[in-house]
Amino acid sequence: MPGGPMELDRRSFVRLSGAAMAASSIGALGFGAAGEALAASVRPFKLARTTETRNTCTYCAVACGILIYSTGDRSKNAKASIIHIEGDPDHPVNRGTLCPKGAALLDVVHAPTRVQYPMVRAPGSNEFKRVSWDHALDRIAKLMKEDRDQNFIAKNATGTAVNRWTSTGMLAASATSNETAFLTWKVARAFGMVVFDNQARV
């Protein structure tokens, strides 16, 4: 897969050359046991055992190429955790650079305010309550169907089929993928939604 998780990646190269350098310089200096102790104290490169993934910065539409480093090797029982993000030097636009936002991407991935599970706030309540996905999605679908069935406009005053639903609306996300966008469009329009917009203006 071109550009995906890389077969011979930059970090492998760094890892190999780093190991070679440590071995050769210690050997050359001939420090013996002291040298071994020194070698043992040298921490391996932070990224030496990580998996590298190509991605795109989530902020503006310069769309800088980024490299994401995560722990684990993608095996089934290894839970990946992202530990470092940097600019992709091969990318023709940003050439490895990132701005103050992109350089801090790791902090937004691991923000303490990432939402962890579905929640519902009941009418008049002063708090959110954790719920299951099924509970949330069943309830949302029920509310949507009720509203659609009550307020769907099948024909206008002149009897023309207009098939629109104006009493439930949606704002679509401009940091999602084109694939998400297309699926969202399909679903919203199949419902007959016309109150429909995105961040193009703000």
Binding site: P2, G3, G4, R54, T56, A61, V62, A63, C64, G65, I82, I85, D90, V93, P100, A104, D107, V108, A111, T113, R114, V115, Q116, P118, M119, V120, R121, G124, L137, A141, L143, K145, D147, D149, F152, A154, T160, A161, V162, R164, T168, G169, S174, A175, T176, S177, N178, E179, T180, A181, F182, K186, R189, M193, V194, V195, D197, Q199, R201, V202
Partner: protein, 809 residues
């Protein structure tokens, strides 16, 4: 963007006006530095603030917020008066020579056809005079008094340097300095690039700001060439993609448009869309509209879309208004006409104007669904945060759902960047907790709705029951399957006119040239076709080689349309097919075909002497200096003051503001006047923050921890406000209490002899995240939209400022 980010390095003059690329798009701005260092380019910045972009400019001119059209019309007047236009380009490639109907006119700020009763225009006079064959009449000499060129000259004649200086507050010599630099690019081998962003769009005249600049670029012959173009620096990582795929009230994928009420069947719908050439021999590419439309319907509804049912035309909702955009939606919500609302990765309580109205509107909903990776103010609109979000939860009956989603690092897919590149990205880790992808959530809602309609029936279930959903994993369709659906495929064997088989049934389309209007092909978004064809996922391509190092990188990812990197590139060569700039050609006519380093934006075999115009999407094949009826407030840009302005319109005080601006009657009472709110307020982003997201990231919250305003030293002195003092900034809609940053980057401007002060307000703070709580700039901004695009007027409104006591901890 018409051009690529790297192509900016080919510019001779870079004009940054209506944006602040150095701070908002830093890694794209490197190409401006490249142009300065290696192409000896001059950077010109026109902005109310001395921004970081201005700080590295070769030439800076200040301007009062909301007066860009006066400035740009003044530039046009200068170019025409000095003859600093690219004559052959203008005469051959624009509609300068076409003759306008006799009834067209302009007087006292209004174009012909205005009805004060309807408060709308009859736009029928804003069009060409046609000959017996239905073609527009032309005068190649540009002498006819009603040819577009003569009318333009007449229209901009009022914008003398004196008038521009009076309206804009730009010193006359500064204005003329900008004109001189812009004029140097009228030479056929010189180019100017225009880089703009929300500094132009967020006005009641936003679309016309951009039109005015596009007209300048056409007069200079800078569209379609290396180092030229109109380059909208788009904000969000996939805002271009969302626009292309049509996630806007009135759009369908690939800039097809939803039907209107009056278009009762496909025949009526097609009448205004598949238009015919307005000049002899034009490509008029929208003649293929029906192919795009039918293929989309086949993609959406498969076997349920047939010739007999107009390809399921009635499955599409029809619009009774031009669009249910965000302002209309929240006005309806405020009036209790909307019951349910879904915010997918969107935070309207922070993003939309007049926060008080937005908060009240959300409280009238029966249910609100927020899908987001991060905690948002919108999902907590019902919480009481004192002055920063006054609310009484016990009185708010909205049921609120928060659904955690994956973020960019946790999913595969493509994003379309500002220069139209579709770039694939890969998942690096699972999302935290129970977060799910937006695809899984939308599928979850859809499948539950479908199951209920199957079981219980209900209002018009047909489109829901028949929506194509043949995915390997119906609960979470794969991004790869969706991308292939967007590209499109043959449903049956497709043959060329000679009977040779082009595609077997089931094969991916090569690109949109293979689309059919008889139901033989399916395609989710015609302009993206080619992104995932039989060659595989072209969006994942990573070959950065760049012929002649000209900044195209044609084998990196996929650029719509057809992997074309520079739009309108036919205009980079003269009418005979010879490049205007022999050092940086894009395509040229080699005697039998158009060839070059870019994919021709033209029929490859169309001979230069066929008089086929380069602007193939337009019926006349020529770029429009005169917009016909395509802009709601007029075919030429005209200076209108912002809805809230410190001064009346000097040109026509009776029609001071844009008569067609989006204003709802209920919002007029919330507008303020200069007697109580004498200063101009404007909003913007900081380089350390992205909207309301980065306040959730620790480093960014440390870099810019708290809300502040920027105030010029002169006004601060007048008001006794010192560096870091607490201030209260108010508009007729609310107030913000925060610290003042006193700066010399904002200076008073003399507008018609009177000093006007501008106060700046960065937008980033709210009551969630790691940064200190803030009010949010949208407490102040007016509920006003651009006449064409309904973009809120965030860049120019009225405020007052006074010193305030520090808040009680």
């Amino acid at each position: 963007m018409t051009n690529t980010w790297q192509d900016i390095k080919n510019a001779n003059v870079v004009l940054v006006m209506g944006g602040n690329a150095a701070e908002a798009h830093p890694c794209g701005f490197k190409w401006v530095v490249e142009a300065k260092q290696h192409n000896h380019a001059k950077l010109v910045v026109v902005d109310p603030r001395f921004t970081r972009t201005a700080s590295v400019a070769d030439y800076y001119a200040p301007i009062r917020p909301g007066t860009d059209i006066a400035f740009l019309n003044g530039v046009m007047r200068y170019l025409i008066e000095k003859g600093a236009i690219q004559h052959e380009y203008v005469a051959s490639f624009t509609n300068a020579s076409l003759i306008v109907k006799e009834g067209y006119g302009f007087q006292d700020g209004l174009f012909s056809g205005f009805s004060p009763e309807k408060h709308d225009y009859d736009r029928s006079s804003w069009d060409y005079e046609l000959d017996d064959d239905g073609f527009a009449k032309a005068d190649a000499t540009l002498q006819h008094p009603r040819c577009v060129y003569s009318l333009l000259k007449q229209h901009v004649d009022r914008y003398t340097p004196e008038t521009v200086a009076k309206i804009c507050g730009t010193p006359q010599d500064k204005f003329l300095g900008v004109c001189e630099l812009i004029a140097t690019t009228a030479a056929p081998d010189k180019a100017l690039t225009s880089m703009y962003a929300l500094g132009w769009t967020q006005h009641s005249v936003g679309s016309q700001n951009i039109r005015a600049m596009a007209m300048i670029q056409l007069l200079l012959g800078n569209i379609g060439v290396a180092g030229g173009g109109m380059n909208a620096l788009r904000g969000h990582s996939n805002i271009q993609g969302l626009t292309d795929i049509g996630l806007l009230s009135n759009l369908m994928p690939g800039y097809l448009t939803l039907p209107k009420d009056a278009e009762s069947d496909l025949g009526a719908y097609m009448k205004t869309r598949g238009f015919k050439p307005l000049r002899p021999g034009q490509t008029s590419y929208w003649q293929n509209y029906r192919k795009f439309f039918v293929s989309l319907q086949k993609s959406l509804y498969g076997g349920a879309a047939t010739a007999d049912n107009d390809w399921a035309y009635d499955y599409l909702p029809k619009l009774d208004v031009p669009g249910y955009d965000i302002l209309r939606a929240f006005d309806m919500m405020y009036a209790g006409k909307i019951n349910g609302y879904i915010c997918q990765g969107f935070n309207p309580l922070q993003s939309f104007p007049n926060k008080k109205k937005i908060r009240a509107a959300l409280g009238k909903l029966k249910f609100l669904v927020v899908m987001d990776p991060l905690d948002t103010e919108t999902s907590r609109f019902w919480e009481n945060h004192g002055e920063k979000n006054p609310a009484d939860p016990s009185k708010i009956a909205t049921e609120v759902f928060v659904l955690p989603t994956t973020c960019f690092a946790e999913e595969d897919g493509s994003l379309t960047n500002s220069s139209r590149w579709l770039q694939w990205h890969w998942k690096a880790a699972d999302a935290p907790g129970e977060a799910r992808s937006d695809i899984a959530i939308m599928s979850g809602i859809f499948r539950r709705m479908k199951a209920m309609y199957q079981k219980d029936g209900g209002a018009f279930p047909d489109p829901i029951l028949n929506l194509s959903w043949a995915y390997t994993n119906p609960t979470e369709p794969g991004p790869d399957e969706l991308a292939k659906e967007i590209n499109g495929r043959a449903l049956v064997e497709v043959k060329d006119p000679n009977g040779a088989v082009l595609l077997r049934a089931g094969q991916q389309l090569l690109n949109f040239s293979q689309l059919r209007d008889d139901g033989a092909t399916a395609c989710g978004c015609w302009i993206y076709s080619g992104c995932w064809n039989e060659a595989g996922n072209n969006m994942a391509r990573r070959d950065a080689t760049d012929p002649r190092e000209q900044g195209l990188a044609p084998n990196w990812a996929f650029s719509w349309p057809l992997n074309r990197r520079i739009m309108y590139n036919r205009a980079s060569a003269d009418p005979s097919g010879k490049p205007w700039n022999p050092d940086k050609p894009l395509i040229a006519w080699n005697g039998s075909v158009w060839t070059g380093i870019d994919v021709p934006d033209f029929v490859p075999t169309s001979k230069p002497d066929a008089n086929n115009g380069p602007f193939i999407m337009l019926a006349e094949g020529m770029a429009r200096l005169f917009a016909r009826d395509q802009m709601v407030e007029g075919p030429f840009p005209e200076h209108y003051e912002p809805l809230e302005s410190p001064v009346p319109n000097l040109l026509h005080p009776k029609t001071s503001a844009n008569p067609m601006a989006r204003v709802f009657p209920g919002d007029r009472a919330d507008f303020g006047a200069a007697d109580k709110f004498p200063y101009v307020g404007t909003t913007y982003r900081l380089t350390e923050h992205f909207h309301f997201w980065t306040k959730h990231a620790k480093i960014n919250s440390i870099l810019q921890p708290e809300e502040f305003i920027e105030i010029g030293a002169a006004l601060a002195n007048e008001k006794g406000i010192g560096q870091g003092d607490w201030v209260k900034l108010s508009s007729n809609r609310g107030f913000v209490v925060c610290k003042a940053y006193v700066t010399r980057r904002l200076k008073p401007m003399l507008v018609d002899g009177k000093p006007v002060h501008t106060i700046g307000m960065p937008i980033h703070w709210g009551f969630t995240g790691s940064a200190r709580p803030g009010f949010g700039a949208n407490v102040l901004t007016p509920f006003v939209g651009d006449a064409n695009a309904q973009t809120p007027e965030f860049k120019a409104f009225l405020v007052n400022v006074e010193k305030a006591a520090p808040p009680v901890a």
